[in-house]
């Protein structure tokens, strides 16, 4: 356990792709039970931050701590075991596998196999549509259904920290509302959430706190209410 009680602590994180520096030393923290949102324009570095937390992009400087444990030397698949579930940008579902197979694959690291049935039930309760389509190839699902599958799969890893990268992307407004309510419900059931969204209004509605990322730096941080009323945020991300 860490002294500060954070589930996730990111300190002075620098990440580069080749010679391009994407994150210039950013710090954020997420406390257990929170929904924290990261907003920012295209190319700000939001996805990069999530990728470095889940270990698929190496960090150059700084530290990432999960429950006080340094993740620097931990390979990506072990970070999942430590409790980080990452729904990547663009969903990343396996189109050539069925819905059930996609979900099953996410239980690779689960040691508590006896609890799996209950977890499938939980996912199917949150997303009844997936249950109807469980033997269908994931590539034939609609965009919204694929998003459900991507979230459902992350839940099946049994993670305590859910990283969501633009879950509303490409969804109709009604579905955006729906997915936000689902995220809130998942959070209420005990999963901590770090939510990346371009749809800042929706994200701030369900989040308790937020960070604004601008070209690889944290430009603003505060409670959701503060950010929602901030003039800069209003102008840049909430459409005035």
């Amino acid at each position: 356990m860490s002294g500060n009680g954070n589930l996730l602590t990111v300190e002075d994180l620098v990440v580069s792709y080749g010679s391009i520096q994407a994150l210039h030393g950013i710090s954020i923290d997420v406390k257990p039970g929170e929904i924290v949102t990261l907003i920012g324009a295209n190319g700000a570095g939001k996805s990069t931050l999530l990728r470095s937390i889940s270990g698929i992009v190496p960090l150059q400087k700084g530290r990432i701590l999960l429950d006080g444990e340094d993740l620097r030397k931990v390979p990506a698949h072990r970070i999942v075991e430590l409790g980080v579930a990452h729904v990547p940008e663009g969903r990343g579902i396996f189109a050539n596998l069925t819905v059930t197979e996609n979900l099953k694959l996410a239980t690779w690291i689960r040691k508590d196999k006896s609890k799996l049935d209950a977890d499938y039930e939980r996912v199917f309760k949150v997303f009844p549509r997936l249950k109807e389509r469980r033997s269908q190839l994931a590539g034939t699902l609609s965009g919204g259904e694929q998003q459900m599958l991507a979230v459902g799969r992350a839940l099946m890893t049994g993670g305590r920290l859910l990283l969501l990268d633009e879950p509303s992307m490409g969804l109709a407004p009604v579905l955006v509302q729906e997915i936000m309510q689902t995220i809130r419900a998942i959070n209420a059931a005990g999963t901590t959430v770090l939510l990346v969204e371009q749809n800042a209004r929706q994200a701030l509605k369900i989040a308790s706190r937020g960070y604004v990322l601008e070209t690889g730096n944290i430009a603003l941080a505060g409670s959701a209410a503060e950010l929602m009323n901030n003039d800069r945020v209003k102008a840049a991300y909430l459409g005035g």
């Binding site: 999942v80 189109a95 099953k104 690779w108 590539g139």
Partner: protein
């Protein structure tokens, strides 16, 4: 009529060996988009492992039932061939995973040459063709004018059983699912908590051990030599492409098709020397009309 039944049996025998080898090409291609040109030579090594092990067992443990000798030989060949393939993957291919694909292909060709030349230079092997000791006493049955040997039946049946098992592994087990997931999107697989490198090594191991099933069976029917892997490897590779490279059942189908090409070419054309011509022509024509091979599907659209 008997003649055609006879030839069909021969084609199934040859085809099942091609199919077993083609599976290794197709699985590795499926997850790494790498054509492992050393695979034919890995098959050759599996024949020699079977050769040496069976020679040893028969001389040291004389009197063991033939079935036991056969099964032991096959298992030992599978094990050591898999080990060799994993060592090659770790030392030669893994460091090149982010390099341009051509580097890995050239490396694979190089490894193939290395294995061939090592076996030629290696005193206990040398360039001369050899006969594996008789694992199962050869019995020939005459059924309505068709000569069927028990070896032939063993080759066909064991090959099919091995293929069914492999198909089940790929379709039903978590490892198989992980392999298929990697073939779709290897960057997302670690986010499922799956160690990609280990699955890749396992794929090489599986491909090599099923080739070793073929190697052991092959050695029971034909002579072996250090260069055998070249032609057989090419034919198995063509089998994989004909069936749709990356597709497991396609590799099996392709193997049998090439078996029929090999056996029936001299039936319809003046000499068996035409068989390579027929095989490559078949490949070319097929690639024109169906570039993804018989069972290969064009990639499902990513949404």
């Amino acid at each position: 009529m008997q003649f055609y039944i006879q030839q069909t049996l021969n084609a199934l025998q040859v085809g099942s060996v091609y199919a077993l080898i083609a599976l290794g090409y197709t699985m590795v291609y499926g997850i790494l988009t790498l054509i492992n040109f050393a695979h034919g030579d890995i098959f050759m090594i599996s024949c020699y492992v079977a050769f040496f092990f069976s020679t040893l067992v028969i001389s040291v443990l004389a009197g063991l039932p033939p079935l036991v000798v056969f099964v032991l030989t096959m298992l030992v060949s599978m094990f050591f061939t898999a080990l060799l393939a994993v060592v090659i993957e770790r030392l030669a291919y893994k460091p090149l995973r982010t390099a341009p694909r051509i580097s890995a292909v050239i490396t694979a060709l190089g490894i193939g040459l290395l294995l061939e030349n090592f076996m030629v230079a290696f005193k206990p092997v040398g360039p001369a063709p050899r006969f594996m000791p008789e694992l199962i006493p050869n019995v020939i049955y005459n059924i309505g004018g068709v000569a069927v040997s028990n070896i032939q039946i063993v080759i066909i049946v064991v090959s099919i059983v091995a293929m069914v098992i492999l198909d089940l592994i790929v379709r039903r087990t978590m490892v198989g699912m992980a392999m298929r997931a990697i073939s779709w999107d290897k960057f997302t697989v670690p986010l499922m908590g799956i160690p990609v490198d280990r699955i890749i090594s396992l794929t090489f191991a599986l491909g090599a051990s099923i080739a070793a099933v073929g190697g052991t069976l092959y050695g029971m029917a034909y002579t072996i030599d250090p260069y055998m892997g070249i032609r057989i490897g090419w034919w198995a590779f063509i089998s994989a492409v004909v069936g749709g490279i990356g597709n497991i059942r396609g590799a099996m189908l392709g193997g049998f098709i090439l078996g029929f090409v090999e056996i029936f070419t001299p039936v319809f054309l003046p000499a068996s020397t035409y068989r390579d011509f027929v095989a490559f022509s078949l490949l070319l024509v097929l690639l024109i009309f169906k570039p993804t091979g018989l069972l290969g599907r064009p990639m499902v659209q990513k949404v």
